[in-house]
Symmetry: C2
Subunit: 159 residues, 2 copies
């Protein structure tokens, strides 16, 4: 059983961090959002120890944020998909990304750009399409390598 | 010098987590957003070791997310205030809170309720006022103890 970090904190921020606040958990979820879904691909992209990745995936599956789906029988191979509960984390990931774009990477140096699938407008810092004004959900988002992307970017390394 | 956790990750989510992703940092910021700004009050509310709190505050001041302001001369006493860069983290905190409200605390059991100062409407999961439709900024938000608040809630323990 994992130690609960924020046990005494009756607070929904603390509750969320109990589920996704472990080191690497949010970057695992970022990768799954970007379409990296298999253990070996996740391990390669994140460059973390296999046991740490396994722990994080098990926790996220246990919390019903990800589901583990077999995509091959012999040998057995699994991939990880977002559940609805996991997909609901999109505003968290987008808010973290927007703040980093603005205050760390800087305008014009964004590693990843996020667009509204329907109209191609970019999302602003609040997740609203700059072109049509819609508040965009995870399902209506297209992520592309941005001007600050480097060769290892998961959206570049795939065909 | 602090070890950078996600050094190899060229990603604005990783960049943000380098600044606010240490254990407790986001809960320190939550407290400052709620108006808990003095070291001893933060320490009491969070119940963490003083050296851990000091580390987190120093990191957040060093990153220009908080500023340290003297409010008393003899003996010298300081409080912590959000900078503009810190206030920009509001969408991150609100997204974490909304997800926890929905998926952990559950509707009707929210520890904290956030309202639009101008019209009193509650904020939805994307930070939009349910009454007037505005996307609400940190400065236009009023936080109140919710139905799931317990005695220790920082908004209950003050006046």
């Amino acid at each position: 059983m994992l130690k609960r970090t924020y046990d005494d904190q009756v607070c929904s921020i603390a509750s969320t961090l109990e589920v996704v606040g472990e080191r690497w958990s949010l970057l695992v979820l970022r990768d799954v959002f970007l379409g990296v879904s298999r253990f070996d691909d996740l391990q390669r992209d994140l460059g973390i120890a296999r046991n740490v990745l396994r722990d994080r995936l098990n926790l996220l599956v246990g919390e019903d944020v990800l589901e583990r789906v077999r995509y091959q029988e012999r040998p057995e191979r699994f991939e990880y998909r977002l559940t609805d509960k996991g997909r609901d984390l999109w505003p968290v990931l987008h808010a973290l990304m927007s703040w980093g774009d603005r205050h760390v990477s800087g305008a014009g140096n964004e590693p990843t750009i996020v667009e509204h699938r329907e109209c191609g407008g970019r999302l602003d810092g609040r997740g609203r399409c700059e072109r049509c004004g819609a508040l965009v959900d995870a399902r209506d988002v297209v992520a592309k390598p941005g001007p600050g992307a480097r060769p290892g970017h998961p959206l570049l390394s795939r065909g």
